[in-house]
Amino acid sequence: MSNVAEHLKDILIKFRWIVIGIVIYFYGILLKNEIFSNASKDGLMINSWDVSLYLLNDIYIIVYFIVPIVLFISATIVLSDFNYMTLIRLGTTKKWVFRSLRRFWSKTSILLLILVFMSFYLTIGVPFSWDWSQYSKSNISHDTLGEIGLVFTAPFVAFLFQLGLLVLAISILHIFLSLFYVTIKKRNIFLIMCAILFLGSVVGFKLFPEEYAFLSPTTYFTLKNFIDSFNYPLIGLVVLIGLFIIFYLYILLLDINKRHYFQSIKSYLPHGIYLILCLTGIVSISISADPSKDTILDVLVLSFQGSNSESFSYFSFFYYSIVFFGLTYLINLDISREIEQIGYYKIIRYRNLEKWFWSWFRKFLLKVIFFLLLLGMFSIIIGAIVGLKTNFDVTVLYVDWYTILYHFIINGFLQITFYILSVFIISWGKREASYGLILISIFMVLMLPGINQQGVIPVGLNSLVNLLEHSPYRITLVLLIANIMIYLLIKYLFTKSFKN
C-alpha cells in the first residue's frame, strides 16, 4: 500500500514541471477568453502581446501559484544546503549565499521558462504585431494591463522589463530568505517567515493602501502593480537595486566576528565619507536644477563641469577637487601601502619591476573605469528621481550626448590615470604618502583661472567645461601623450633602481 503511495509521489515529482505547465495553460485559457470578450464588446482589435502580457501580469497566478512555488524552492534549497560540510568547503558564508542563489535559479529558471513559454503558446491564433493593439491603448485595458501601454513605447520592451523585474524581484526574495536563515539559524522561525511572506503577498495586494504598496512583495512581481504604485518604473527599480545593495553590504559583514565590525567599518571610513561627498554634490545639483527644462544629462554636465582657465566657479572647482583629487588621494594611500608594506617582499618574487607594477596597477585602472561609470549612473538616476526630463538632450552645453559621455568616460579615465601615475612617481621616490598631497595641491593651483590657457598642461582637462573651447579628441591626444611620457619616466626609474 505504502509502496503505491511512494510510487505515486515519485511520478508526481518526476512530472511536476508538466503539471505546472498544464495548470498555467488552463488558467491562461480563462484569461484569454476574458480579454476576447472584453475587447469584442467594444469592437477593439487585440494582438498577441495583450494575451502574453496579461498572463504575466495576472496577480492571482503570481500570488497563488508562482510565489508559493518560488518560496518552496527557495526554502528547500536554503534548508538543505546550509550545513557545515558545505560551508567548510566553500570557505565563506558569502560564497554560500551566492551558490545558493545559483542553485535556486537552476530550478526557478525552469518555472519562469514554462510561464513565458505558456504566455507565448496561448497567443497562437492571435494576430502578431510589434505595436500596441487598439485594446491596450484604450481605457478598458486599464483593468487588466494597467497603464503599461501608456508608459512603454513598445510591447516588446514592456515584456522584457516584466521579465527582468520578475528575475530581480525573485532573486532578492531568495537572497532575503537565505540571509534570514543564516542570521537566525532556526528552522521553525524560518518557515514562519516563509508563511508571512506568502500571506503578506496574498493580502498585500488587496489590503495595503496605495501609498504603502511598495511594502507589499507583490508590487515587485508584476509590471502592472509596479507602475500603479511607482508611476515611474525607474524609481521602483532604484528601490529594488537599493535593497540589493543593502543586502550585499550585509553579506559583506556575515563572515566578520561582530567584535571586528567596528574595526572594519573604520578602515572603510575614508571611502565612505568620500562617496557621501560625491553623492551630496550630485544631489544638490539635481535639486537645484529646473525640472521644466533640465534633463538628466544636464546633471552630469553641471556636476562635473570642473573649471578651466576661462570658466571658473568655486563650487565646480571644489567639487572637481573632491571627486577627482579625492579619488587620487585614496588611490595614493593604497599605492603607498603597496610599495611600503608588501612591495619589497613581492618585488623579490616578480624579479621584474614592470611586471610587479602592472600586477596591481591593472586593478586600479579597472576600479577607475568602474567608478566613472558609477558616477555617471548616479547622476542620471538621481536626476530621474528628482523628476528631471529623461531624454538624452543636453541643454546647458551645445554638445551631443555621446560627446559628453566620451569626454566624461575616456578623457576622465586618461586624466585620472595621469594623476595616479604622477602620484606613483612621488611615492616611489619618497616612500611617504604625504608627498602625494603636495603634488595634488600643485595640481589644484594649476587649475586656477588664467594658468592653463592653451589646455596643454595635463591637469583638469576632463572638466566638462573644456568642451566649450576644445575638441574632446584633442584633449584625448594631449592626455595620451602625457600618460606615455610619464610611463616612460617610470620605466626609466625602474631600470635605474635595479642598478643600485
Binding site: 538543505s80 550545513n83 557545515y84 560540510m85 567548510i88 551558490r99 563572515d255 566576528n257
Partner: protein, 219 residues
C-alpha cells in the same frame, strides 16, 4: 609547527559559562583528544575552531589567520560536528559526490575508494534516508577524509560504529597521523582516547592536560 592557536578565548551562552580565557596551541602531525561530561562544551570548542560560531573574546587563528577577521572557515579541514544533514532522496555516493564537486579536487574513483575504506558499499542504490545510524556515521567520516584534508576535526567519530569498524577507523586515523595530518577528536570511550598524543579535559571552563601526565614520560 603550530597550526591552530587558541588565545584567551572565552565563550558563554546566556550566563552559562563554557570557557574562560583558554589557551592552546595545536601542532601539526599530532592527535589531540578532548574529554568532558555532556554539556561541558566539547562541540562548542570544535565549532569555534571551525568558525561556525565566534568566541565572545580572545582569538583563534589557523595558520596565522584569525577566524572572523582574516578568514571565516578554515581551509582544508575535514569536519564532523553534530548530526550531519544529507539529501535524503539520494544515495550515499551521490551525497558525497555533491560535496566533492564544491572544491572539485577529487575524482569519483577517490570517493568510491574512501567509501570502501570505511566499509560502505559505493554501488548500493540505497537512499540515505534508509541508512542506519552507523552507516550515516560512516558517511560523515567519508566526507571528512575523502579530500585528504590536512586537519581533521572529529566530534565523536566512533559514535554508533560496530567493534570492527571502530578498529578500522582507529587504524585509519593512526595512518593519517603518520602521513603528517593533524587530528582533533572527542570521545566518551577510554579506548579511543588511547590513540591520542595529548588529551585535554574541560574542567570548570578551563582546559586541563590529562595525558601525557605532567612530569611523566618523554619530557
Amino acid at each position: 609547527m603550530t597550526i591552530i592557536s587558541i588565545k584567551d578565548v572565552s565563550k558563554s551562552f546566556k550566563g552559562n559559562v563554557l570557557f574562560e580565557n583558554i589557551n592552546l596551541d595545536i601542532r601539526k602531525g599530532q592527535i589531540y583528544g578532548f574529554v568532558g561530561p555532556n554539556g561541558s562544551g566539547k562541540s562548542v570548542l570544535f565549532k569555534m575552531i571551525c568558525g561556525f560560531i565566534f568566541p565572545d573574546s580572545g582569538e583563534i587563528s589557523i595558520d596565522g589567520l584569525e577566524i572572523g577577521k582574516d578568514k571565516r572557515f578554515p581551509e582544508n579541514f575535514g569536519v564532523i560536528i553534530d548530526r550531519p544533514g544529507y539529501i535524503a532522496s539520494k544515495t550515499g555516493f551521490e551525497n558525497l559526490k555533491e560535496l566533492a564537486m564544491i572544491r572539485g579536487n577529487i575524482s569519483d574513483k577517490e570517493v568510491v575508494e574512501t567509501m570502501e575504506m570505511v566499509g560502505l558499499d559505493a554501488q548500493s542504490s540505497q537512499k540515505t534516508k534508509n541508512y542506519s545510524l552507523g552507516m550515516k556515521q560512516k558517511l560523515a567520516i567519508c566526507q571528512a577524509i575523502m579530500e585528504k584534508q590536512e586537519v581533521l576535526v572529529l566530534d565523536e567519530p566512533f559514535n554508533a560504529l560496530d567493534v570492527d569498524s571502530v578498529k578500522k577507523v582507529r587504524d585509519l586515523l593512526l595512518r593519517f597521523k603518520e602521513e603528517g595530518r593533524t587530528i582533533l577528536l572527542t570521545s566518551h570511550n577510554q579506548d579511543d582516547i588511547k590513540i591520542c598524543d595529548e588529551v585535554y579535559r574541560i574542567n570548570r571552563s578551563k582546559l586541563e592536560l590529562t595525558l601525557p601526565l605532567i612530569g611523566d614520560s618523554h619530557s
